[in-house]
Amino acid sequence: MRRPKKYEAGEATQYISRRAALRKLQLSLNDFRRLCILKGVYPREPKHRRRAQKGSSEIKILYHTKDIRFLLHEPIVWTLRDYKIFAKKSGRDRAIKDFRNLKRRLALFPEIKLDHIVKERYPTFIDALKDLDDCLTLLFLFSTFPSLHLIPREQSNLCRRLTIEFLHYVIASKSLRKVFISIKGYYFQAEIKGQKVTWIVPHYYPFKPQSRQEVDFKVMSIFVEFYTIMLGFTNYRLYHGLNMAYPPQFPSSMLQDNEDTLKDETSFVSERIAALNFELLRTDKVQEDEEEPDIDMELLEQDGDSKRIIKMKQEAQEIARLRNLFKGLKFFINREVPREPLVIIIRSFGGKVSWDSSVFSGSTYDESDETITHQIVDRPSLSTQYISRDYIQPQWVFDCVNQRQLLPTNKYFLGEELPPHLSPFVDAKRDTYVPPEEKALHDPSLIETHAQSDDESEEEEAAQNEDDTVDQELLDAQLQRAYQQETAEYKKYGGPDGVNEDEEDADDDFDGEQESDEEEEELDEKTKRLQEEKKKMSVQSGKVHKVNKRQLHKAEVDEHRLQARMVKPRHRNLFRKLIREKQSKEKEEWLLRKKRRNIDKDTKEAKKSAKREAKKAAAAAAAAASQLGAK
């Protein structure tokens, strides 16, 4: 038997150094890099570096031998080799100034086909969606680039086109869920086919040059090259899923024929598409609004017992409401506000939007339109203001989406100092201690009641048990929410939507007629607020729902026991761990709440005593004065 040699088996054969891979593939380093990025073959870290590197302990870039062998069969390797030939031949033509031949060669530049690679890397469509985060962020970034060294202009144009197409899909499918303005850029999160897709759009500022020390532009450009193809195919599939024509087109009735449009139809269309303000051509001629995904709901309704299912149901209802958040609202975007993110948000939640026609093409109505309900402004003051609309800052739109309801606009008025913009990616319902201030930020209905109750208590100066009030408030809030849900459901299943909308419209009209003077409007607002307060007060006064705490606790304990029994023996440790974690968290929360309560109590006491002393002093002073008077 032959004696086995060192490094002929095991880890040494599993890995291959980059140099060896280059030699094996007969490619230059640049070509190899490109091939690897396109095919999704990345370097690996071995378990034992010295063994994998055949005894050498310097840190080399290693690949799996299997991966390299896989690359060996790739047809684009031949195209990469053709590039070399092309470069040589065209270089020769250029040198001898044979421009006829050069032109012929350039026309037949060997182009890489990546279709099969996309399919290979993402065997299913869902796989592609899962990897869309990076793709979108990079393409949105590249779409802002001018032509740079190593980044051709066509690439950035293509990126722009594809991203706009994607945004059209997001608008048409109403799949946007969360938005966030950070110092990095605008975060968007959409839910497409059950996958959460998050991307960042850079702020709209002039392009800042980038030092080449930090980033390898060539590498990024290759990534973008692949991602453009991938997003193209994804867009194709998404569009066809919505029955839309893929290279996006307008219904021909919408295009007005001007002299300008006749000149260059394609650019006109592409500009309008970029404006994001038009419905695109559909292939099936059926309005999408009618067909909503109710099937899930029905399925859920069949066995609506479990907690999870109830939660899911609630979520589905919330989303259904969210999708039509801005329905019936008409926005106008001022010229100083970044147009694109706002248009995406407003349009994907059913609102209508326009802007100054001189800012960008595609505006549908003027600033002077009386039916505009909201004007988005980002400057301290405005000279001419219409009475019929709210002048709000852009953050209102973002916060409304994140909290999935229309917030009161008074905090976002023109020139007002804005409330903090919270991140929607932090779960507000996490089971840790959340201070009441933050809670109020997430649920504005809480804050008002909270403030009011404080005021009342101060006015009355009656020592009330705060815990009870807080609890009650919470309960009330829950009740309110339940009531809202009920009404929403009733609207959905009981009465048709159109009636409600009509009512709303009628209300709007009524308001519009009434609003002739500013003062009157203010009065109206005051009365409205009063009415709202009354409503809340009436809800507070009801004390029908008294919960038997002991029974509740007992039921909870029973359920917990049942749960514990249901756990499989192999998961018992995990279950115990979870329970322990939960308990510790609860304890922590309880401690913090207690601490807070004590602090609140102390401050209240201090206030009260201060007030009492002040009163005493005042009384004393009055007495002294009276005495003086008597004297």
């Binding site: 896989f70 037949l108 990076d134 702020h203 390898d216 590498v219 932090v426």
Partner: protein
């Protein structure tokens, strides 16, 4: 001439030898022949047409200067035959004496493409012609596309549609189930449409870390105070750890060594290097002190090694001792065993403890391995370092969208993310070092010194000043 000829008498010269023959004047004959040849070369006037000889000058005398540009002239010149080839041209009018020449066909090396294209004789010529046709068809299409300005990637199909490779190849689709999938795969491979299978390791993820990391709430353009403070605290902590590390490195390297002045350093070096070399004054005295050592050729400090032989008795004794020792040890072990029987309980406890420790170690190792799955791998020479957190300083927080101060560079951010997810090896851009160029003035170059004229001017100026001074003194 005709009048002269009869007057001159013909000279009679002997033609006895060959040399004498040359004395005949044959100039007239030669002249005649020359004329005839010239006539043959350029033709006679009688042969030529009037048009060739004369031109009717119909244009006015003053011709307009030609309006041709240089480029046009060049083009016209290019049409003319080259000057260098003029010498090769046959301008003679002499007719070829050989009426019919045999045409010599030169043997061509390689193929005659023109002939193959024009009248193909072999199947391969025909094949080549069809290929060429296809090529030019494609070329024309490409050129037309280029001119129309549409050069976009072709996306006109749903690549994720479920499809069977057998559908595309006629004959492989079988409703009756006669052709197995393996056979179909084999056939597809052999007719040039190989079905490529991707191996699972290609889709294997190298890190367990989440793809999308939610931004810190303090990174909002208008953050809540708490979130912003938290983020700031995080940044400060990170910065402090970096400073700490730096300080540690400084302490361990730079400050660990004492510093000396350059003079001191040089002196020390000199001392060190000259250690052991005797100085000028002393060596003689040393030599004088130990004259014997100079006589002895070699001596060391160590004592000389002796080869001591052990005696047989000593060896025996040693062996005996060893044996005894062994016996003693065995006895001791036996004794210990019996003793251990009593403390079996404590031994068990010890063993258990050891096992517990081992278990603990195993657990920790497992946890470490699990933790490592979330970390960035070491792919290349450089270690990945987390980029700095993006944060707005409190004074930069504007509170409205108009005055947002953007902090991050999204491109760098993406690049780092790719590195973090093990998709790119961490690299450091290398600055290309330029060779140092030694600069010196050329020997022929001279610094501009003071010229004679300048000196003269200066002298004159000085003189004038002196004169002026003297004038003022006079007054």
């Amino acid at each position: 001439m005709a009048a002269q000829e009869p007057a001159t008498k013909r000279k009679r010269i002997s033609k006895k030898n060959k040399a004498a023959w040359r004395k005949i004047d044959i100039q007239d004959v030669e002249q005649f022949l020359e004329d005839q040849r010239q006539e043959e070369r350029i033709g006679t006037f009688t042969d030529k047409q009037d048009e060739d000889l004369f031109v009717v000058d119909a244009s006015p005398l003053k011709t307009a200067p030609s309006q041709l540009t240089i480029k046009q002239k060049r083009k016209l010149n290019a049409l003319k035959p080259m000057r260098s080839h003029q010498a090769l041209e046959n301008t003679s009018k002499v007719q070829d004496p050989i009426v019919k020449r045999n045409h010599v066909r030169q043997k061509k090396s390689g193929r005659n493409i023109e002939m193959e294209v024009c009248n193909p004789t072999k199947p391969r010529h025909r094949q080549a012609n069809t290929d060429r046709g296809l090529y030019y068809e494609k070329l024309d299409k490409e050129l037309a596309m280029r001119e129309s300005g549409k050069k976009l990637p072709k996306i006109d199909k749903d690549i994720w549609q479920e499809e069977d490779f057998r559908d595309k190849i006629p004959g492989l689709k079988d409703e009756k189930g006669w052709i197995s999938r393996d056979l179909a795969l084999h056939v597809a491979g052999n007719i040039g449409r190989k079905v490529v299978k991707t191996h699972a390791s290609l889709h294997h993820k190298t890190t367990k870390a989440k793809k999308f990391e939610a931004p810190h709430p303090g990174m909002s353009y208008n953050p809540s105070l708490k979130a912003h403070q938290e983020l700031l605290a995080e940044v400060v902590e990170r910065e402090q750890s970096i400073i700490k590390k730096e300080q540690h490195l400084k302490r361990v390297t730079t400050t660990m060594f004492s510093k000396v002045t350059p003079e001191e350093r040089d002196k020390r070096r000199l001392d060190e290097m000259s250690e052991g070399i005797k100085e000028d004054g002393e060596p003689e005295s040393e030599d004088e002190v130990d004259p014997k050592s100079a006589d002895n050729s070699y001596s060391t400090v160590n004592a000389p090694v002796e080869n001591k032989k052990k005696s047989k008795a000593a060896r025996n004794k040693e062996l005996k001792q060893k044996k005894l020792q062994r016996q003693h040890e065995a006895k001791k072990a036996l004794k210990k065993q019996t003793a251990d029987l009593i403390r079996i309980k404590s031994i068990r406890a010890e063993v258990q403890e050891e096992a517990e420790e081992l278990k603990d170690l195993k657990k920790r190792r497992k946890a470490a391995a699990e933790r490592k799955k979330y970390e960035t791998k070491r792919l290349g020479r450089h270690k990945f370092e987390e980029p700095d957190l993006d944060v707005n300083m409190p004074e930069d927080l504007a509170g409205n969208l108009r005055n947002v101060k953007t902090e991050s560079n999204l491109l760098t951010d993406r690049f780092k993310l790719l590195q973090k997810r093990n998709m790119l090896p961490t690299t450091v851009a290398v600055k290309r070092k330029r060779a140092k160029v030694k600069r010196f003035p050329r020997s022929s170059h001279k610094e501009p010194g003071v010229s004679f004229q300048e000196l003269r001017d200066r002298r004159k100026a000085a003189a004038a000043a002196a004169k002026a001074n003297s004038d003022t003194i006079k007054i």
